[in-house]
């Protein structure tokens, strides 16, 4: 029993999941069990826990893409703006403001919005991989210009849509479970399979650890970077669709605002090194759920929303600090003596 627990706790996913469960339990105790109550209305599952999964789906999707970007030692802070662009495009098409020839077809709107996200990702990837601009600056161009582009698409207005098919993206249910959950499982599952069942994940970690050595080892670093930023862009576009379907419109100023910070925070909580190298997408998913869980529980406790951002900023500094090698060195001497003690016991 003890060895199994030991083995599990070594896994990167273990601690994030435990923390998430603790957050859920804490909420359950504070609300005297109200938190865990689930009800089935019209064959749909409702409940606070389900809400965390539904509201967290955007963040989980973003965090999955962000994990890969951070694993290469880069960053993508344009995801919020890409969300705004994809929401703006989809809503404008459904509302027949642009491309009226499509007749407000939701499927076409979704496809075009995702293509736009892919284009944004490709743009980031080109700047990072081919022109070799620092990722933070390269993606910052789109962070600022992106909202401008979204505003130009919607002509500076908040576009509202009335389409049940479009609402379904966020509010729909299949087999009693919210539809965003299925999008999440499909996208993230495909990504996990792709990175773990092919050599891609291993090559990715190698690029993150040492891009130059990877290049000499014959890995097409440029190509990989291009692909990863593209995936991040596409995932951001999907998250943007879920968000805009949730608010039933496109709000270019606020859609996905500051969500890049949450995504980076989620990945950091998951234990992936922000500097690049080893990564774990399942751990990032747990990290994203923790972030969403914190947000939900802080709101449920009646703390003003303003404090959440301060809390998250503090959290990210603490986590990054604990990942930094120098900080570990401070505690190293103590650990070494502990290990010696363990050896003696054996």
């Amino acid at each position: 029993m003890k060895t199994i627990l030991n083995k599990w706790s070594k896994n990167q996913v273990f601690w994030p999941i435990v923390i998430f469960l603790i957050i859920l339990l804490f909420n359950g105790i504070v609300s005297k069990g109200e938190f865990f109550r689930m009800s089935i209305v019209d064959g749909h599952l409702y409940g606070r826990v389900i809400d965390i999964f539904r509201n967290g789906s955007k963040l989980v999707i973003l965090a999955a893409g962000m994990t890969m970007v951070l694993a290469t030692g880069g960053t993508d802070i344009s995801v919020g703006s890409v969300m705004a662009i994809s929401g703006a495009i989809a809503c404008s098409i459904v509302d027949q403001r642009i491309l009226p020839g499509l007749g407000g077809n939701v499927g076409a709107a979704v496809i075009i919005a995702v293509i736009a996200g892919i284009a944004c990702g490709l743009w980031n990837g080109l700047l990072v991989a081919k022109i070799k601009i620092q990722p933070i600056v390269a993606t910052m161009i789109l962070l600022v210009a992106g909202r401008g582009i979204a505003q130009l698409i919607t002509n500076g207005k908040i576009v509202t849509v009335t389409s049940d098919a479009y609402y379904f993206i966020n509010g729909g249910y299949i087999l009693g479970l919210p539809f965003p959950l299925f999008i999440l499982i499909f996208l993230v599952g495909a990504l996990i399979l792709f990175t773990r069942k092919t050599a891609f994940g291993l090559l990715l970690e190698s690029v993150g650890c040492n891009p130059l050595a990877s290049k000499f080892a014959g890995i097409k670093v440029d190509f990989m970077l291009l692909g990863i930023y593209t995936i991040s862009g596409a995932f951001a576009a999907v998250a943007g669709l879920i968000e805009s379907a949730g608010i039933k419109g496109a709000d270019c100023n606020n859609a996905g605002l500051n969500i890049e910070m949450d995504a980076i925070l989620a990945v950091a909580i998951g234990g992936t090194n922000i500097m690049g190298g080893r990564f774990s997408i399942p751990a990032s998913i747990a990290g994203a759920l923790i972030v969403q869980g914190i947000t939900t529980s802080v709101l449920a406790l009646g703390v003003p929303a303003a404090y959440i951002r301060v809390l998250k900023a503090t959290l990210i500094i603490v986590i990054c600090l604990s990942q930094s090698g120098k900080f570990k060195e401070l505690f190293k001497s103590r650990k070494v003596s502990n290990q010696r003690g363990a050896v003696k016991e054996q």
């Binding site: 700047l127 130009l152 922000i274 600090l321």
Partner: protein
Amino acid sequence: MNKTNGKKKFHINNISLIITISLFIVMFVFGSVKYDNFLSISTFLNIFNDNAYLMIAGIGVTFVLITGGIDISISSTVAFTGVFSAFLLEKGAPPFVVIPLLLIIGILLGAGMGALIHYFKMQPFIVTLAGMFLMRGLCVVISEASIPISDPFFKSMALGKISIKLGEAKALNGKIYYYVFILLLVLLVATYVLKGTRFGRSIYALGGNEQSAALMGLNVAKIKISAYAISGFCAALAGIVFSFYTLAGYGLQNMGMELDALSSAVIGGTLLTGGVGTVVGTTFGAMIQGIIQNIVTYQNLNTWWTKVTIAGLLCFFIVIQRIIAIRSEKAKGKD
């Protein structure tokens, strides 16, 4: 070897600065030809009146960029300074306490981030990103609504101006606000510090190659932390100038200004990889943004075009930098 290196850097710097200055002149001429009333002293002076805070913040961030780092927390510091000063003034604190206090907060924030970056080897963007969210969060904690400033000193700074009258014609008149002189002072001091002091030269050395700088015996910790502290100080000063300019503090003010400041520096010839840059160039970079803003207004376009154009311009300059860098690398290879 040292000499040729110095020459090359000067060369790179020059090209960007020359492009920037000629671009500014071209845009000014373009505006003057296209629009009535554009060609005037007041148009020129208003670029400074409207962008003094951006220039000050840009000058601060140039120090960090030269060391090879990055600081994206400045826009939040500007907003925080505005909100907190408005809040304190509303509570009755005298401006001569409020202003030094906020400048000290700016310095401490910058130095704190610099220390995290240096001692714990954390990535500058992560640390300053967290700093950005911390300050932005604190803004909302202090007040979610915009707080007006009615302090007499702030008002006198906001409204005090020198009228310049060179002739009877309207185009020959203009006005310059007092707070623009703060900018000029910052510009002079920053130029002197970078060009004329040992500390300034060691900032360039650090950006050129951190390891060499350390081996040369430079105190890397002191230099790096000071650079971030200067950036924090300039951001706080910019925040005060901004509250002179708007006479209000609002937490959502200046979203995305960090990009404007960074692009001012880049357009003005600062290399993002560190080691090269001038504060005069940064000022010119901010002037170009001012003139783009003017043209967008005259053309009656959506204000978002300003952002899109600046992002485009930034891209253009970064690509030029890369081409120059790749060329010089190739030239090095030939040696």
